[in-house]
Symmetry: C2
Subunit: 345 residues, 2 copies
């Protein structure tokens, strides 16, 4: 599937970023599934998560599932920094070797908005659905374009990166950048040891105490804890570009729906701007996007048509929201999202 013809590029051109920096040729890679109907009211936007490309997340799109391409026109915009959209790995020439600029969610969402409006004439989203960084993008969409977003499903995400979450990301960055391939702020070659260490750091944060206690890695065919860590986490980021990972870590760590001209850091105001029907679906045992973050957010959704907190009852930690080959969690998500899509909005 990984061929140029698998996805399209939206040329956003020369873009002034929130930081004051410019990207002279920002490109948004996207893929669509299903057919846009005449009323253009069957659109689901499904942004990508950390280090992921649409190849990694499109499995959730399936006939009969909540994200059903036979019923909906589903668009996956690849997040900047993921190696398909503009990223350090593909911008060197364009940037004439200048440092890659920091790109915030507030930079990314308007480009996604331009794709939908300019390319497809879409003015309303039936749903914006996202997991992890995708969930943060869903939140940003709902706050930034409240009249356009009918429903938002935030799966293992939050409206801003909590300080605890940021400290987790600091540990990921520290493990990765300890590799000697990190020189003067960027990787000059592939940091194999750093990527492996980053995976080991991720292993404890991404999965729960109970996951390891009950040896749930056996469900996926691993034969020992070390086998699981070695074959799953040591290689989890091995095929990613390390400079891309750093770019997305910045985006994640600095995520906050209120850090824009419209809200000027007033978090309550940003939350109150959201009009969508909101489903907050954290993993019950997620260590970094904790249930408590969503609990604190829920009462701030004062203008939302409806807002529900519905933790995924799973020991799979953060991965409960991207339950590849975990039927129970997948079924839970599909049921809740189907209900959300069936509700008035």
């Amino acid at each position: 599937m990984n061929t140029p013809s698998d996805y399209q590029i939206f040329e956003a051109g020369d873009v002034l970023l929130q930081s004051g920096q410019r990207h002279p040729r920002l490109q948004l890679a996207y893929k669509t599934y299903g057919t846009l109907n005449a009323a253009k009211d069957n659109v689901i936007l499904y942004p990508t998560s950390f280090a992921a490309q649409h190849y990694d997340t499109e499995w959730l799109i399936a006939p009969g599932a909540a994200l059903d391409p036979e019923r909906y026109f589903i668009v996956i915009p690849n997040l900047f920094g993921n190696g398909l959209s503009s990223s350090p790995s593909n911008s060197m020439e364009t940037l004439a070797d200048a440092p890659y600029p920091n790109i915030s969610y507030h930079d990314a969402i308007p480009i996604q908005h331009r794709l939908l409006t300019e390319q497809f004439g879409i003015t309303r989203l039936a749903l914006v659905y996202g997991w992890s960084m995708g969930g943060m993008q869903a939140y940003h969409w709902a706050a930034r374009y409240p009249d356009m977003v009918a429903r938002a499903a935030v799966v293992c995400g939050s409206a801003r990166c909590s300080p605890f979450n940021a400290v987790f990301l600091e540990s990921v960055r520290a493990a990765l950048t300890t590799d000697p391939a990190f020189v003067d702020g960027r990787f000059v070659s592939k940091p194999s040891a750093g990527l492996r260490a980053m995976g080991r750091v991720y292993a404890g944060w991404a999965m729960s105490h109970g996951f390891y206690r009950d040896e749930l890695w056996r469900e996926a065919g691993f034969t020992s804890l070390e086998d699981y860590l070695t074959r799953s986490w040591d290689v989890a980021f091995a095929h990613r570009d390390a400079n891309n990972l750093l770019a997305q870590l910045w985006t994640w760590q600095n995520g906050d729906i209120s850090r824009c001209d419209a809200f000027r850091g007033d978090f309550r105001k940003a939350m109150a701007a959201i009009k969508a029907r909101v489903l907050l679906m954290p993993g019950q045992t997620d260590n970094y996007f904790q249930v408590g973050d969503n609990e604190d957010e829920l009462p701030l959704l004062t203008s939302a048509r409806a807002a529900e907190l519905c933790p995924i009852p799973s020991l799979h930690g953060h991965r409960a929201g991207n339950p590849v080959k975990i039927p129970a969690d997948t079924a839970f998500i599909n049921t809740k999202v189907s209900t959300l899509l069936a509700a008035d909005a």
Copy 2:
């Protein structure tokens, strides 16, 4: 205080270790506080925690506090690998440059036992008290010498290293050993970058979500999250010998009261061997020695004179059990341990 005269050395001689390896001259560094009474019934054993020396933990010993040197004879045995007792950093000559052997709690506790019996003629402990790895040692003492231990206070510790805890330690090891100073299984020079990365990894695990949310680092005088991470965690392990840290990580990760000839891996049998009055005092928000571990242990203490689970109500995560300059947590611990010491045993 850090002078040779501050502590004593117990020469354990040539010791056959549980692994089958030998240490030809195992030395136990210890320090005593207070006076052993004639009946020799006022003894508190206070083993050390990860990377710590008695300098780091003796602050809890104070007149009027639970560990009161005016009333008790308190012995701190420095855990092997901490740089004062036998450790990679001081065993190179003795070992003729051979790899440092793995030393388990089951190796360490009998040497501590020899110190108490051979050096002081002590046959009964009023209390064994320990935090973190010290708490694990307290547990091992209670299971190994049930008739000698009247009371055991396990603070942020467990009877065995949970798999989740082990995965955390894997992340610490990965961050540390990514440093290029790690060559063929040992550090050949000081891994400054690795030690810093290890500190950043520790930062998220040691403290809680609520600690960061409420910016409790302000209580200690830090002015920003980055200031806290930089001045506290980036340097937390900077003055430690990295090979020593690896040695103690092995001890911690392989901790299990049942992994010895007496119990042959039968965890329930080992737990049932404990006769002491047991106080399990996890931190309510500890991420790696979780409350749930102690909850699971409590019903297994079937022979204990008494067993109580009493979480420290604190946002200071694992540090709730070593609450340097945190008056509320210190008071909580002192009160509970004083009550334990006052109870029949």
